[in-house]
């Protein structure tokens, strides 16, 4: 890239997107907002607090203002209106023409395309199949992660559990935390997730950043991740945990690796990931020992051999167009569970062009994987986990009905901790102490309080799941998995319904 110095500098500074507005009648000039704004969007000048540009609407100032006198206002359109040339498209061009860089973003794809989840309606029982009151009658939400034996062996009236079956991981609800690495989030944020997983008796992903020595106390609830960077892998990272997952791809950036910028590779990150201090931590785009399903089978086998067949070994892939056939390959390669990550899934940093444009919505991906595995007689052998943009218990329930055994949730758990989805994770300045490595910011997050908030959220979602199961007249979540008859599609494109094998609204059982 050759850079020619401009002969005359033309300042193409972009208009602000948000402006914190202060009601000076109420402001007590305590300056907490100025001190707390990690984006330095507020300053104290001439005896009052004024906006200084760069506000990202993280909402920290609003939350800490004792006088409740701050309001963040989106700046109205500053460009001439145009139906095709959106503000963002023009802002992107202006920014890239100045920097020559690849636009970086974080969190999930934020384009306004509606989620297919919102086009699905749930069924409920009436007359012939009576509904169940979950407060009065048991509704089972226990879920198991791992490879199923596929059949029961009965000898002398007793069910025999075959000894060469890998143990299943029991979880109290069909939810797990997705893989968020130490590095993309702070020590306190990851600790909160692990504490919550332990309390809820579900599984949390370690992410690919290794496992901090302090977190081995939660290891029986952690699914450790083996990704292309092979960060932090040591015997106890493989042997002492609940499950091991090979990460092939991530929904937010299918086919892309990871770049943890050098300034985030602190001493703690360097030791946990086992990488050099202060250099860019690169996760290569592919695993260099995996160029085929057969190669993947080798990595699965070596992990099973290393863990002496005591743990389930799974594979995570990003939802891409051929996801059904790939999933079939994963199961045949020996994966005990597979995880499908949809394109609205979160990320600590991803090129915008990939985040917003590559991959498949998780709703379609789940249905495609479930259908393909069922057709090939493999579906009953594995656990299918799915995630990527699960915003509510309704999304979770619809994902289950489309064919997922376990729903993977990450961003919602972070929102429970305090995240406002301002999409600045890649800058490492998170004012809530979540997506940052700066000690002063990390200290803002109390892991005990954050864990308690996540636990309350997930318990509430599980109650909502029971309510819906009861309303459908179903007494165990297993009977909802893949039960597309309990869904109807009401969206604009019936072809989507056909691909997902979901009936259109108005179509009955017959």
């Amino acid at each position: 890239m050759s850079e020619t110095p401009p002969t005359k500098r033309l300042d193409h500074r972009l208009p602000e997107r948000f402006v914190p507005t202060i009601n000076y009648d109420l402001c007590r000039v305590c300056r907490r907002c100025v001190n707390d704004c990690s984006y330095q969007a507020l300053e104290f000048r001439e005896s009052r607090v004024v906006p200084s540009g760069g506000c990202v609407a993280c909402g920290r100032c609003i939350a800490i203002c004792p006088a409740s006198c701050i309001e963040i206002r989106p700046v109205p359109p500053q460009f001439a209106p145009h139906g095709n040339w959106s503000e963002r498209s023009r802002r992107s061009i202006l920014a890239q023409a100045s920097s020559g860089g690849v636009l970086l973003s974080s969190c999930g794809a934020d384009d306004p395309n509606p989620a297919i989840f919102d086009d699905l309606l749930l069924d409920a029982a009436q007359v012939t199949n009576p509904s169940i009151d979950p407060l009065r009658e048991p509704v089972e939400t226990v879920t198991y992660l791992g490879r199923r034996p596929g059949r029961l062996e009965v000898y002398d009236g007793k069910v025999i559990v075959r000894e060469d079956d890998t143990p299943l991981i029991r979880m109290d609800m069909p939810l797990m935390f997705g893989h968020i690495s130490l590095g993309s989030i702070s020590y306190n944020a990851q600790k909160a997730l692990f504490m919550a997983a332990k309390e809820l008796n579900i599984v949390a992903g370690s992410g690919e950043g290794g496992l901090h020595p302090d977190f081995y106390q939660y290891a029986d609830r952690i699914c450790s991740e083996v990704a292309s960077g092979r960060f932090g892998i040591k015997p106890e990272y493989l042997k002492g945990v609940a499950a091991v997952e090979i990460k092939i791809g991530q929904g937010a950036k299918p086919g892309h690796g990871g770049h943890l910028p050098g300034e985030k590779v602190t001493t703690m990150i360097s030791e946990t990931r086992m990488i050099p201090l202060g250099t860019d931590a690169l996760s290569p785009y592919p695993h260099h020992d995996i160029y085929s399903i057969e190669d993947l089978a080798q990595l699965i086998s070596v992990l099973k051999e290393s863990t002496e067949y005591r743990l389930p070994v799974g594979v995570k892939i990003a939802a891409v167009h051929n996801v059904g056939a790939i999933a079939s390959g994963l199961v045949r390669a020996g994966a005990d569970f597979l995880t499908v990550d949809g394109f609205k899934g979160g990320t600590g940093a991803a090129p915008r062009v990939i985040r917003d444009h590559a991959g498949l919505p998780v709703e379609v991906a789940i249905a495609a994987v479930d259908r393909r595995l069922t057709q090939e007689g493999l579906r009953n052998r594995v656990t299918v986990c799915a995630g990527g943009g699960i915003r509510s218990s309704a999304d979770m329930i619809k994902a289950l009905a489309l064919g997922a055994d376990v729903v993977m949730v990450s961003t919602s758990a972070m929102v429970a901790m305090g995240c406002r989805v301002c999409q600045q994770c890649h800058r490492g300045l998170c004012s809530w102490g979540i997506a940052t490595q700066r000690d002063d910011l990390t200290a803002r997050l109390d892991p005990n309080l954050a864990a308690a908030r996540i636990v309350r959220l997930f318990r509430a979602w599980n109650e909502e799941l029971k309510e819906v199961l009861g309303a459908m007249g179903i007494d165990a979540v297993e009977s909802l998995v893949g039960n597309r008859d309990r869904l109807r599609y009401r969206g604009p494109n019936p072809k989507i319904a056909e691909v997902m094998n979901v009936k259109h609204i108005g179509e009955g059982w017959g």
Partner: protein, 276 residues
């Protein structure tokens, strides 16, 4: 083929290795030719090896290995010595954490995959992706190696992986390298290294005895002269190579090329973080 044994710490002990494992003192010998099932399945052989490790053996000698994969993966017994006679399969010594493995024959692909510490000595050739993502320990190969060797090796704290290749390495040697040292001697003639050498490397160093043309370098790699400290490191590695294989590599320090990253921050300035 015998039914696959998958030991899981059950109350009963499996009978793997009944015919082929013999333990004298703390030395174990596993002779695969004595096994009624040939070739022995890799799960069985690994089970027998773990059995020997559990019994506290300080050395394990494998005879008649015929391509069994994943041998000694995650082996962590300090001071353990494993001798392999025959040809081990892929992923020999994956996640190795301390022991020494000596192969009297050729190794296959992915030897020393993601190893932490320990040594792997190959009296022969080692093929593709040897030493992938190693964070410590040492791999010595007397003969040639294949493609994509030493990919993404990294160092941290006091841990630095080293690899010496007596013969040649093919393309993509040291790709994505983030630390550690690779020394290629080219003793058997021919071009010591292939193309795309050190592509995307952002740490570590590759020393090549012989010539490296600029057209052989991958993006991010640059040629530089050896510093006195580099020469000390090369001499130290040559010593270990000579000791391991009984060779006498000439001490001709003038004939080495050093390939090192042009930046430890290859992605600095690559991204635009504007809030669009």
């Amino acid at each position: 083929m015998k039914a696959v044994c998958k030991p899981k710490g059950h109350a009963h002990e499996c009978d793997c290795g009944k015919e082929c494992l013999s333990v004298v003192g703390d030395r174990a010998v596993i002779d695969l030719d004595l096994s009624p099932t040939r070739p022995m399945h890799y799960t069985t052989l690994n089970c027998v090896m773990r059995k020997a490790m559990r019994r506290g053996c300080s050395s394990i000698e494998l005879k008649g290995v015929m391509g069994q994969r994943y041998l000694a993966s995650t082996a962590s017994t300090p001071g353990l010595y494993i001798a392999v006679h025959g040809t081990p399969g892929n992923d020999l010594g994956a996640f190795l954490n301390g022991p020494t493995i000596e192969v009297f024959g050729n190794a296959q692909d992915m030897t020393g995959n993601t190893m932490n510490s320990g040594r792997i000595i190959v009296h022969g050739n080692a093929w593709d992706v040897t030493g992938l993502a190693a964070r410590g320990g040492q791999i010595l190969v007397q003969g040639d190696t294949g493609y994509r060797v030493g990919i993404h090796m990294k160092e941290f704290g006091g841990s630095r992986p080293t690899m010496v290749i007596g013969g040649t390495a093919k393309d993509y040697l040291g790709e994505y390298m983030a630390g550690g040292t690779v020394l290629v001697l080219g003793l058997n003639g021919g071009s010591p290294v292939g193309r795309s050498l050190g592509a995307g490397m952002h740490g570590g160093r590759i020393f090549v005895r012989g010539k490296v043309g600029p057209e052989q370098l991958g993006p991010g790699a640059a040629i530089s002269p050896l510093s006195p400290e580099d020469e000390r490191e090369v001499r130290g590695l040559l010593d270990e190579f000579n000791k391991a294989f009984g060779t006498e590599v000439p001490d001709d320090m003038g004939g080495y090329v050093k390939v090192a990253p042009s930046s430890s921050r290859p992605f600095f300035g690559y991204y635009d973080k504007t809030n669009v």
